[in-house]
Symmetry: C2
Subunit: 194 residues, 2 copies
DNA sequence: CGTCTATTTGAATGTACTCAAAAGCGGTGG
DNA sequence: CCACCGCTTTTGAGTACATTCAAATAGACG
């Protein structure tokens, strides 16, 4: 079993790929180990990579003008993560991405991302489906934010992402849900009393 | 000038397509006129179409368990709209989609959506890019919701979507921003007094 | 064990909501 | 043409949900 098996399974999930296509795809990646608390992207920097998480846990976040931190996404093994808007539009990053524990990623550079589509059109389908999934996931998040209470959003979160709950401090879950850590604590206290 | 010019320009925006590909694509669409207040999708129904708005204004919305309505998206001419999650996963719709004024759309059925990719792989790229754009748009919305005040979100909305502001009642903008119409009114009043 | 960070608690505060009613606006028919 | 009806927007008072701030407690890690 190879380290690359996992990412190959990921991209093969929704379409059949030739062996050569897989090999060529792998040649465009670089492998990177990330120490706990190390950042692979900081706001203001160019966002040059799309990252496939091979192991560990990463978190993307930003700061508002008062300095309050908001968690935009988490990624554990087999997830993709980047500041997609800035990656695609070649703008300075809005997000910080850092490891919550020792982690490793396969990185696809912006240039290789384009090169991939230019030379291997099968990958249009792979990423079309990844983008579809990402879109519908974010849209569901918008809908939940509009129509559910903080407590219901927390319940949904732990039901939908038990992998994250294991790995991520509560304060980051709070900032993902759009509430304060104190209030999330109060929600949890409430559950015990019933 | 043909009615189909607009949608052809839309799908040709990010990639070159052969004439025959365009013709074949058009053959998979059906044109539909929608009266003001008419729904093209209702929650609970199967979501069978991806809609390209040719003219008019549509709105997608849902209800929470207390019956409060939330606006998920607007679409004016040259936008695509559907309940994407349910369209892709063939689940009963969560959303209602209806016309805010007399409108017309080109509809691509779920079957033809798959047929398109099976027969014309160039369209993988077209939709990969549309999905990318949709994803980054929703992610930006999540970030704004997390890090901006209601007033800042309203300011951003009118700056980013002046086309919507012209066409859409304020109460729907409020429900898109996640606030009550009364509070949006108070925000606007505040602006005048300064 | 001691230090650092995360979580919990509680009191005071604020932002946004609910409810009710008035005012504004647009469309339609007499 | 304008009077009326229905819907949208505004206003204001009272309220609720979630925040801020400060401090105590609990956990994790070297």
């Amino acid at each position: 079993m190879q380290v690359t098996d996992q990412i190959i399974r990921n991209i093969s999930r929704y379409t059949a790929l030739e062996e050569q296509e897989k090999v060529d795809f792998l040649s465009l990646l670089s492998f990177r180990e990330i120490a706990k608390k190390e950042a692979i992207l900081k706001a203001g920097q160019p966002c040059q990579h799309l990252n496939y998480v091979h192991s560990g846990t990463l978190r993307a976040y930003c700061f508002d003008k008062e300095g309050k931190e908001s968690t935009v996404m988490f990624a554990v093994a087999d997830w993709w993560i980047t500041d997609m808007f800035c990656f695609l539009n070649q703008k300075p990053a809005m997000l910080y991405i850092e490891a919550l524990e020792g982690s490793s990623v396969f990185q696809l550079s912006r240039a290789n991302f384009e090169h991939l589509f230019a030379t291997q059109p099968s990958f249009e389908r792979v990423f079309r489906i990844l983008m579809q999934n990402a879109y519908t996931r974010e849209q569901l998040r918008v809908i939940e934010r509009l129509s559910l209470s903080a407590e219901e959003r927390y319940d949904n979160f732990i039901a939908k992402y038990p992998q994250f709950v294991e790995k991520v401090p509560q304060k980051h879950i709070a900032s993902y849900l759009g509430i304060t850590p104190e209030f999330l604590s109060a929600i949890r206290r409430g559950k015990l009393g019933r």
